[in-house]
Amino acid sequence: MLRIQGLRREFKESGSTITGGVLGIDLTIEGGEFFTLLGPSGCGKTTTLRSIAGLEKPDAGRITLGERVLFDAAARVDVSMQERQIGMVFQSYAVWPHMTVYENAAYPLRFGQHSKLDKKEVRTRVMDVLEIVDLASFADRPAPKLSGGQQQRLALARALVHCPSVLLLDEPLSNLDAALRDQMRREIRRLQRETKVTAIYVTHDQAEALAISDRIAVMNHGLVEQIGTSRAIYSEPANAFVARFIGLSNMLTCDAVTSASGDEVTVKTAIGELRGLRMAGHDAGKDVIIRPENILLNPPGDAGVINRINGRIASVAFMGELTEYEVDAGQNVTLTVRGRDHTLTPGTEVTLGLPVDAVKVL
């Protein structure tokens, strides 16, 4: 179990304005978990990861791995990074160009402070790990001769060869093209399951995060906005930032909760009164979130949908499986709707149905 308490690391630009970093976060990551730090650039996710690795010295806080204290600002404990025994995959892969594939993967075992293996054991371990990432046949090839995906796998092999208890991944897929990215994402997840290593993954790509993670911490301006499973973060965003950052959302400001029965509330918005569900921990009701794929296009009259809004199609974008419509709902409100009906054309009058459980009130 990796535990982070009160971690702070501020970056200041000539003067005192804080320009980035981490402003006090707490995280508990279970052993064997695939945990993702997600957020826009400058949110502090990479700083958090680098603090765990020991590449960054936090201003305050405490980091423990199981019983071991890796860092404690108060007690002045700062285990040097070669002693931390973590594995790390870098955004640039950082595969050393002056070495072969084998030499790259063997490096932690040959020069790491802790490994005291003889040559034969090193060879077995390295070939095993190269086998897992499917690079065994490339062992003697110079590292720069590998393709992007192969370099990525080599970086993974190197990070895993000394059996670390924590694997840190810093935007490892951002330099790959789209098709390879999906394949590598599955590969990373498979390796993590096989090795049962605790993985901490940093990305700004919400789709990637949703697909790969057990749990996600959404970060913004150096703070954690929400921690939860992919499903929870998507369907029950804790606040407007998370809702906007994860997936596409229609956001409406609402005046006040006019009536309430249990979790069901009615709010007043620019496009009229809407019946919706109040999200946990939010009493006042300030924002309404509606996911585009939850809006029904021209629902039949007997479908039992209470919220009905009339609008006109402003633009159409065919996306394959779904078609995305921008619908002008009057009062300067445009709603994005995604549906399987591909036949509507701009200018068409439509009725939008908003099921009560699709209207989320924060």
Partner: protein, 557 residues
């Protein structure tokens, strides 16, 4: 590595602090015959500022430096533009000539020109034949002669630095101008030269500073012609007086260092400013070539003329001198006396063998020491280890010392040092290493800053120590920079004569100082033969340097 870092900083502090301290101290005290010091006095400074000779020398220095920098920058800019931005045939010859010129010792080059322009040289012979005059028409031992020779000496370096500026300029600025309907000429005037102007100005200032610090040409041209610049003044106060006037020499040195330091500060501001305009785009970057049309042949003629002037003339004159048993003006009749006597003498002499060995030790020792310091120092500086700023300042501080002043400082230091180093080749290696460190350290810092930091972080994350990371990852990856650094420092350390002259002793004669002594003694034939043999060997080193620098794109200053 912390130990290395602290050690390196400590060594530099322990050398530079006493060096400067000693110079200042000497400038403020009378040095007695027995080496002890009198009471504190400002009379050396007062003497300087009240003497007409000092101001005359200052004016000489400024005139000489400005003139030489102007010659070098004008010629260098034209060559750089032709080499990098035009389609003139044979433009790579400019590079070959510039690189070959790096292997010629300053003294030898100057002598070649003195033979060409001197009283018995071919220029005067031709002019006399035309005018029918019995006396030589031109006198090379004048300010103009000195400016011309020093200017030509700096032209190849100015060319190499400026070529980098033109090479790195983004062609899309020019293309945008052409797209807007401007002509090639208008584009040149309004865009290309405007964009390059800050860099050209900065480099002009750099050459100006370097010429202020120069010693060889003023010593060989100005001193016989009885006019002095500040560096030759320092030299004369020590070696032209009995007893040496240490106080005045030190006061002069302090003034020189102060001026150069101020100019260097301006240079660093200017050059920082000049890079603002240099946008280098990574993708599909290629500089645009201007088609010269009918002017191509003129450009090629200029390229060939440059080769003749920079290499051809001095080389021919030296070969002529080396092949004749005694020096004679150029004539067909004299050719019947050609002999290999001086070459045989030079090859067979045991003194010369010692000199060559000393020079090799000086070059190899200096290059190795500087490269080792630059690799570690460059890494500390580029990665902002604690104390990086101090280390950076210490390593670049010697830039502000003209070689002759650094030599004087080391002379004082070695005379006072508890360990007897005076007159040894080791003393020369130490002094040269400090003098060359500013050039070397740049190769280190630039080399490291081109590495992605994650390459090192990956090693640290693998559990490797700082030292292992440095030796296994950093050093192999910056090896090309380090080899280029080694070769350049080798060439620099064996080329100049000021340091060997200031620190000369019975056992540390090197090629440069031997050439100087031979010229003083009028042994032109031996000088020419020895210089040519040495230059031949150095050519191999400079070509290796060029190959590497070109391949890995390391800049030259």
């Amino acid at each position: 590595m912390t130990l290395v870092r602290v050690g390196l900083t400590a060594i530099l502090v322990l050398i530079l602090l006493p060096l400067v301290g000693f110079l200042i101290f000497t400038s403020l005290h009378q040095t007695q015959i027995d080496g002890s010091f009198g009471p504190t006095t400002v009379r050396f400074f007062a003497g300087l500022f009240s003497s007409a000779r000092f101001f005359e020398n200052v004016v000489n220095t400024l005139l000489y430096s400005f003139g030489s920098a102007l010659v070098a920058i004008v010629l260098g800019t034209i060559q750089a533009w032709i080499a990098e931005r035009t389609n003139a045939p044979g433009r790579s010859l400019l590079y070959v000539v510039a690189i070959l010129s790096l292997s010629i010792p300053y003294v030898l080059y100057t002598v070649g020109w003195l033979l060409f322009l001197g009283r018995a040289g071919p220029v005067n012979a031709v002019l006399q034949a035309i005018t029918g005059s019995a006396a030589p028409i031109i006198n090379v031992y004048t300010m103009s002669g000195q400016i011309l020779i020093e200017g030509l000496l700096w032209t190849p370096v100015a060319f190499l630095l400026l070529a980098a500026v033109f090479r790195n300029a983004d062609a899309s600025f020019e293309e945008a101008s052409l797209m807007s309907g401007a002509s090639v000429g208008q584009t040149m005037r309004n865009i290309s030269m405007r964009l390059a102007a800050p860099a050209i100005l900065a480099l002009a200032l750099l050459v100006f500073i370097r010429v202020i610090e120069s010693f060889e040409v003023p010593a060989l041209v100005g001193m016989p012609g009885r006019f002095y610049v500040l560096t030759t003044d320092v030299f004369t106060e020590i070696f032209g007086m009995s007893p040496p006037n240490y106080g005045r020499a030190a006061a002069l040195s302090v003034v020189l260092i102060g001026c150069v330091a101020v100019l260097l500060w301006f240079y660093s501001r200017l050059s920082r400013h000049s890079y603002k305009y240099r946008t280098i785009t990574g993708k599909g970057f290629r500089p645009r070539q201007v088609s010269l049309g009918r002017w191509r042949l003129a450009a090629t003629a200029a390229i060939i003329l440059n080769a003749v002037v920079i290499i051809g003339i001095p080389f021919f004159m030296l070969l002529w001198a080396a092949l004749l048993p005694y020096y004679q003006p150029i004539s067909i009749a004299a050719m019947s006396q050609f002999s290999g006597k001086f070459f045989a003498m030079v090859m067979g002499s045991s003194t010369l063998r010692d000199t060559l060995l000393n020079t090799a030790i000086l070059g190899v020792g200096t290059a190795t020491a500087v490269t080792a310091m630059s690799a570690a120092g460059g890494w500390f500086i580029a990665r902002r280890h604690p104390g990086a700023w101090l280390l950076d300042q210490l390593a670049s501080a010697p830039l502000a010392f003209p070689a002759i002043v650094l030599g004087l400082g080391f002379l004082n230091l070695f005379l006072a040092a508890p360990v007897s180093l005076y007159g040894t080749i080791t003393s020369l290696v130490i002094a040269s290493a400090i003098a060359c460190l500013p050039y070397g350290i740049r190769y280190g810092t630039v080399g490291v800053s081109q590495l992605h930091p994650e390459l090192e972080e990956a090693s640290r994350a693998s559990g490797a120590s700082e030292a292992t990371t440095f030796l296994r990852v950093v050093v192999p990856l910056i090896a090309p920079s380090l080899i280029a650094c080694w070769l350049l420092v080798f060439l620099l350390s064996v080329r100049a004569v000021s340091m060997p002259l200031m620190l000369a002793g019975p056992n540390n004669a090197v090629v440069a100082s031997a050439l100087y002594d031979l010229w003083k003694d009028g042994q032109t034939g031996e000088l020419a033969a020895m210089g040519l043999v040495w230059t031949g060997a150095m050519t191999v080193v400079s070509l290796a340097f060029f190959g590497l620098a070109r391949r890995f794109g390391t800049s030259l200053h």
